[in-house]
Symmetry: C2
Subunit: 154 residues, 2 copies
């Protein structure tokens, strides 16, 4: 997971915001510069978002990647699922303790795997509660509050 | 995190259960065999649990590692904290976007770091809700239910 979710959230937020403010799309070079990573990494994440149906690429003049749905309808859990392809197990899984003589081991392994799924689900519900639109709005609010504080202090 | 939390939960559960049933402690070799991993790995996790105050080592005849508190008072979050030493960030953190020209980047990074903390806290609360005693009880219940089913089918 590491940086991929952060880059995905950043890319979705920037593209949605750019489009809303009538500035069209951004190239992967521009996105990479803003995110502070390499265009190669950004393109890899964009490919994952496209495969998950969160981005579409428009062809032709003024073309490029745009968000596929309204930013109110994309949650950070969608972004998480796109970059992890559900393979992402945050907590370890217990291999089913083959070849141990202890009768408790496989049952404990089964119990812990269920608990880890519950714990991960709790984490993912938090991401599900945040849409790209809400994230963008909050970030812009913070920027504006700070700009007002700055000018008040001048 | 991966397997360390699972091994820690397993070790705590086995030691607590063994002690309760009056069979004293277990060596790291016995624990390793039950968990299905190597004694070296088990000893490393036991050292972390000891450092966190969850295990104590009794010296002398019949000595060895025992749980330091009642299993009702040790949660899987304690075990998690012991094996990760709070270093364990499950979700990526956004480095604070140094050297990007985009004014949004650092504020978005800050926002996402807060959200990731909230999401991880939700996961950890799930682990906090489960004590070693509750885990052990549930595992023994399952074993007994299956034993009953087995004998009913015979």
């Amino acid at each position: 997971v590491n940086q991929r979710l952060t880059i995905a959230a950043h890319v979705l937020g920037l593209l949605a915001h750019h489009e809303r403010s009538g500035r069209g799309t951004m190239t992967s070079e521009e996105l990479a510069e803003s995110v502070g990573t390499s265009p190669v990494v950004v393109r890899r994440v964009m490919a994952q978002l496209t495969r998950a149906g969160l981005l579409v690429t428009r062809r032709g003049v003024g073309g490029g990647a745009v968000v596929a749905r309204a930013p109110e309808q994309i949650t950070l859990r969608d972004a998480y699922d796109a970059v992890t392809a559900h393979e992402g197990e945050l907590l370890g899984r217990h291999s089913h303790a083959n070849g141990t003589s202890c009768p408790i081991a496989p049952v404990l392994a089964e119990y812990l795997n269920e608990l880890y799924s519950d714990a991960e689900e709790a984490l993912l519900r938090t991401l599900e509660g945040v849409t790209v639109a809400a994230m963008t709005r909050e970030v812009i609010d913070r920027l504006e509050r700070r700009a007002r504080l700055d000018s008040a202090h001048r």
